[in-house]
């Protein structure tokens, strides 16, 4: 049971990193990124490819964040001048393109076969759940650092500008600031965080295939920040934690309600989350950690 809880906590922390990236992009800046999983995939594959070719693991983590951020740069330059809805479509298309590329480029990614035998972090610690706890500790430290960095960003001049972009882009232009540059920077930062999350994911799961990086992952992250409170750093953390409890907790429904197949269970799980999202939208649109004085 301890190992199971540690596993859930690790996956939750990986998703929190993803949610923090999306909070920076959408919650604070207003960028509708429907392709977050694409940057997650780039990070996972960058770390996996380097690690399976003998590169130091640290280099893989740095490369994961770097290449995910690098991929965001041209996307930002090309599409940030588009209207919000078109930008959302471009990012969704981008993530699907990434998935098709990693499926097709077998020489690099091993295609649909995926990359097996990715080194586990702290694999030397074989006693009990020592390795899992060590991964958990590192992830906690990285996530904590990401939270602190984001809090600093929010209070910085850069943070003021990105919040102004979310509020009224034209208003900011009329005050002498060009939003495009800041939006590209935010897209790169958020993508870098997603890439880092991807590296942790690859080294934790130890076997990645293209089908793990479907748009549903992006929409789980969206659900988490909506439930937690859009634009709130604490909302990304709390919303993801609640989503994980719901996703994992619903597995136990099969123990109490007999005759439910695994496939039916997956549908029930999504249905429960969907109903929850609808209820939040109606009764608490600001999310769990949003401003309690406002609806």
């Amino acid at each position: 049971m301890d190992a199971y809880l540690a596993a859930i906590a690790i996956v939750a922390l990986i998703y929190i990193l993803l949610a923090l990236g999306l909070t920076l992009q959408y919650g604070l800046t207003g960028l509708i990124n429907f392709g977050h999983v694409g940057f997650f995939a780039i990070g996972a594959y960058a770390a996996a490819i380097l690690a399976t070719h003998g590169a130091p693991l640290v280099l893989g983590f740095v490369a994961a964040a770097f290449f995910a951020g690098l991929a965001a740069w041209p996307i930002g330059l090309v599409s940030l001048r588009l209207r919000d809805d078109y930008f959302a479509i471009v990012t969704l298309g981008f993530s699907e393109t990434v998935r098709l590329v990693i499926t097709s480029e077998k020489w690099l990614t091993n295609g649909v076969q995926g990359i097996p035998a990715i080194p586990r972090l702290f694999s030397g610690l074989t006693v009990g759940i020592g390795a899992q706890l060590a991964v958990l500790a590192v992830l906690l430290a990285v996530t904590g650092a990401a939270v602190l960095a984001m809090r600093r960003i929010v209070r910085s001049p850069f943070g003021r500008i990105i919040e102004a972009i979310r509020d009224n882009e034209d208003g900011l232009r009329a005050l002498g600031k060009e939003p495009a540059r800041f939006k590209v920077q935010v897209l790169i930062l958020g993508a870098g965080l997603a890439g880092l999350a991807g590296a942790f994911y690859a080294h934790y799961i130890t076997y990645i295939v293209p089908d793990q990086f479907i748009p549903l992952v992006t929409f789980y992250v969206w659900m988490a920040i909506i439930i937690g409170g859009v634009g709130r750093i604490s909302g990304a953390v709390v919303g993801t934690a609640l989503l994980m409890i719901l996703l994992e907790g619903s597995r136990f429904i099969r123990d109490v309600v007999p005759g439910i197949s695994e496939v039916e269970m997956a549908s029930i799980r999504l249905g429960v989350i969907g109903i929850l999202l609808v209820l939040f939208t109606i009764y608490r649109p600001q999310g769990l950690m949003g401003d309690f004085s406002r609806k």
Partner: protein, 234 residues
């Protein structure tokens, strides 16, 4: 007197159709100019064209002799244009102080913010308050302070009294009347044309994207045709 704003044969719009159909007008240094007209005449479109927020525009547009037509909005702000939009005129998520801090191109930012708090004492008292929590009148003051931060030569005000209670409308016009003393030339797009003309040096009335009438504010106020067609009787 130096011409601050010089507009000639200005055309433009949001899509294929021209909302502005060849506007000609000028604004001299220290002058207040009211732009009036019926709904859909192109008043707010003209304001957006001047500050660089109209997607498609052609013609001549000079500020202090410099052709700014090809400049994007942020560069026009740097060339000395301040803008108070009709709606969404503050960044609601930011505090009053932060709203002033985001303005680009301000020399001695701290000193200038203190000057703004001197000009608008209420803002100084509530500097940490979130702009989204302010009343309509307070938001309007903040929008003016924000637009004045970079010491503009020209202020473009898009219906500055639209969201105000009647009691606050007078305050807003009193504030606008102070602009020449602050060294700022002002173009006001306004539905309350009579009140606006009363504090203006000159006025211009748009109709169908063109200048239908223009002249001294006092002359326009006394003009029967202008009153009948565009200004109303109150």
């Amino acid at each position: 007197m130096t011409t601050v704003l010089d507009i000639a044969a200005l055309r433009g719009g949001y899509g294929e159709v021209d909302i502005l159909d060849g506007i000609d007008l000028t604004l001299a240094e220290g002058e207040i100019l009211t732009v009036a007209g019926t709904n859909g005449a192109g008043k707010s479109t003209l304001a957006k064209a001047i500050v660089g927020l109209l997607p498609r525009v052609a013609g001549t547009l000079r500020v202090a002799g410099r052709d700014i037509l090809s400049l994007p909005a942020h560069a026009r702000a740097a060339s000395g244009i301040g803008y108070v939009p009709q709606v969404a005129n503050v960044f609601g998520a930011l505090s009053i102080l932060e709203n002033l801090q985001v303005v680009a191109g301000v020399k001695d930012r701290k000193g200038r913010i203190d000057e703004m708090f001197g000009l608008f004492p209420l803002l100084g008292e509530r500097r940490r308050a979130r702009a989204g929590s302010l009343s309509g009148g307070e938001r309007q003051q903040l929008a003016f302070a924000r637009a004045l931060m970079a010491r503009p030569r020209l202020m473009v005000l898009d219906e500055p009294t639209a969201a105000l209670s009647p009691a606050k409308v007078e305050d807003a016009f009193r504030l606008i009347a102070r602009m020449p003393a602050l060294g700022v030339s002002t173009l006001i797009v306004e539905q309350r044309a009579r009140q606006s003309l009363a504090i203006s040096h000159r006025g211009c009335i748009l109709d169908g994207g063109r200048v239908a009438l223009q002249g001294d504010a006092a002359t326009l106020l006394a003009d029967e045709r202008a009153a009948d067609l565009y200004l109303g009787r109150h």
